[in-house]
């Protein structure tokens, strides 16, 4: 039983505020990812939950206990660092078991737990080695084993995969996810990689400038971004944005481009209102001319991504891109038509950046 609740968290270095009044509640067993650009306060938030940073104001509870002023060792949390933070002067086995030995747990009890954890992470052959004789991926597994063996109430991961190469990163990502399915320990995972967040999280907390920009499942974040910032941050290739003015019949017009919107999704839009449209390249594809929401452009560049291609076009002096599988027959200066389904269009307030969906 280890839900986490953070109430009115404030953190500032001197007069410089990093986190301003953050409220967050994480239910038991959930895998939550803190996502955001560097400097958004996600690592600071994690370190405050760990107890490595003092909280300037507010209250942190883990499993119903107020841990705000407890030292890190007494919070029942375990952390995996980006730099692995293995103890260089100890063997792998000593690294993993240090915490248990320190608590005075008998050797007879430690040995089977070590064996089990080493087995699970494939570390059995390396137990006698020093950390510096391991590869990066192995070192990160040792760091995970060190966290797991303590059977903590909460796992904290601080960008644990950033120092690994792309292939290994994907592999360990899957392993971490599997580990969570098996152990069901409440987990907070910090990353700046949106793809990593989308694939691994039960729920994403997207942060910006020390505030929560949006909180939700990967699907919610992707399908219904709460703001232009979220829409821009999530998804590759990046979203196209288009300034437009509303006309009668729920049509947004930008020059020669007319996009019909879903009246049920955006009931509040009035003719004459200025809006900013968000069109995901992946939601658009080639079409016949004259179809609803069709856009006509000139091909500037085709980027081959293997199974599909990103086509960058020029539409009335602006760059717009879309993704299609039928990219191989396109070449520079071709005129193309592509369209988006009306329920895939995002609309934002051009001043506040907030989504105009619903309400």
């Amino acid at each position: 039983m280890a839900n986490i609740s953070c109430t009115d968290i404030v953190k500032s270095y001197g007069a410089y505020p990093v986190i301003e009044g953050m409220n967050l509640s994480i239910p038991d067993h959930e895998f939550v990812v803190f996502l955001g650009p560097s400097g958004c306060g996600k690592s600071t938030m994690l370190r405050m939950v760990a107890g490595l940073e003092d909280v300037t104001g507010g209250r942190i509870e883990i499993g119903g206990t107020d841990v705000t002023d407890l030292p890190p060792g007494e919070r029942g949390v375990a952390m995996v660092f980006q730099s692995y933070a293995l103890y260089p002067h100890m063997s792998v086995a000593d690294n993993i078991t240090f915490g248990l030995r320190r608590q005075g747990i008998p050797k007879s009890e430690i040995a089977p737990r070590l064996e089990q954890v080493a087995e699970m992470l494939g570390l059995a052959p390396y137990l006698d080695r020093r950390p510096k004789n391991l590869s990066g991926g192995q070192q990160q597994r040792v760091a995970m084993a060190r966290a797991m063996i303590k059977t903590p109430k909460v796992f904290l991961f601080d960008e644990p995969l950033s120092n690994l190469d792309a292939k290994l990163r994907e592999k360990l990502r899957t392993e971490i996810r599997k580990m969570h399915l098996q152990l069901k320990t409440t987990t907070i995972f910090v990353t700046h990689d949106q793809l990593e967040a989308m694939t691994i999280a039960d729920r994403i907390v997207l942060m910006r400038d020390g505030k929560i920009e949006q909180m939700g499942t990967p699907d919610e974040i992707f399908e219904r971004p709460a703001s232009r910032f979220v829409a821009d941050f999530i998804g590759t290739p990046a979203m196209n944005f288009l300034h437009a003015t509303m006309e009668e019949g729920h049509v947004a017009r930008a020059g020669g481009i007319a996009i019909t919107l879903d009246p049920e999704a955006f009931p509040s839009l009035k003719p004459g209102q200025k809006v900013e449209l968000g069109l995901r390249p992946a939601s658009m594809d080639l079409c016949e001319p004259g179809v609803e929401n069709a856009v006509t452009g000139t091909v500037v560049l085709v980027e081959n991504m293997g199974a599909e291609g990103q086509v960058i076009t020029e539409v009335e002096g602006e760059e717009m891109s879309f993704v299609t599988q039928r990219f191989r027959r396109l070449s520079q200066n071709d005129t193309v038509h592509f369209a988006i389904r009306r329920d895939k269009v995002h609309v934002f307030d051009p001043n506040t950046g907030q989504s105009l969906r619903g309400v």
């Binding site: 107890g51 030292p71 890190p72 060792g73 007494e74 730099s83 933070a85 320190r102 608590q103 303590k150």
Partner: protein, 271 residues
């Protein structure tokens, strides 16, 4: 051809540099094994019948023997105390002093700006008044200024190079600040710390002015060596050379270590 000449010239220049670096010392070592008549020659002699007489003379001489003993006691005591007090202080300055750490470090460093004579002059009077003039205790006490400040000065960067995450990981496992220092920071930083202690040792072993002013009968080896200018009528160059060799050997033992220390600090200094 021109290239051959320039290569030969550079080689010769480099060889000359090595001779300039090592020659004086080797010449002294040679001199230590010479009899006086082989030294006092108009043409320097490279070939001679070596003698151990000079070393026998200095080792038989009670003043020099005492000087050696005093040096060993004073230097080891002041370095050990300096390490015991300075290393924990350096760790705290590196890790637990956010706002005032710089000021303390500047104070420690400013002690190294202090001209030794400015310490020696007042201390001689104070020591005379307190009755600890010419005691080993007095020398150890005044050397603590050098050892503690040097140990702190060199150990703070050594501790700063210990990855902070390692200490945080230890804190996550429930270690107290002292445990983190003792079981993690200290072992991880120990190679650089050892270098710092060696440097401190060399500084104190080589010190002359304070020992010269604050001690008379109980002086250290550099003072005794500095005072051998004549034992009898002629300048005993052979004996002086032998005493120099005796003085030089302990610091030179650590040259490999100094090299290693230099390599690590240079590399981590610029990432």
């Amino acid at each position: 051809m021109g290239r051959l000449i320039s290569v030969t010239l550079t080689r010769a220049l480099l060889a000359l540099l090595i001779v300039v670096a090592l020659g004086p010392i080797l010449w002294t070592v040679l001199g230590a094994f010479k009899e006086l008549r082989d030294i006092v020659t108009p043409v320097p002699k490279l070939l001679f019948s070596p003698t151990l007489e000079n070393f026998a003379t200095i080792l038989r001489n009670p003043t020099i023997r005492d000087g050696l003993l005093h040096s060993v006691i004073v230097v080891s005591a002041s370095v050990i105390i300096g390490a015991a007090l300075g290393i924990p202080a350096a760790y705290t300055l590196a890790r637990h002093a956010r706002n005032w750490g710089d000021d303390v470090q500047f104070f420690v460093l400013s002690l190294r700006f202090m001209p030794p004579v400015a310490i020696a002059i007042p201390f001689i009077v104070i020591y005379l008044d307190l009755g600890i003039y010419d005691t080993l205790f007095g020398l150890i006490l005044v050397y603590l200024i050098t050892t503690i400040s040097t140990v702190i000065w060199l150990s703070v960067p050594a501790f700063e190079r210990v990855p902070l995450n390692i200490e945080e990981a230890a804190a996550m496992e429930g270690c107290s600040p002292f445990e983190i220092f003792w079981r993690f920071a200290l072992p991880v930083a120990s190679p650089s710390l050892f270098g710092a202690l060696v440097f401190t040792f060399v500084l104190v072993w080589n010190e002359l002015l304070l020992a010269l002013t604050l001690a008379a009968q109980n002086a250290t080896l550099p003072v005794v060596a500095a005072s051998i200018t004549s034992l009898g009528k002629e300048v005993p160059w052979g004996v002086i050379n032998a005493a120099t060799v005796l003085l030089v050997v302990p610091p030179l033992v650590f040259i490999g270590l100094l090299m290693g220390l230099l390599n690590t600090s240079v590399q981590s200094g610029r990432k």
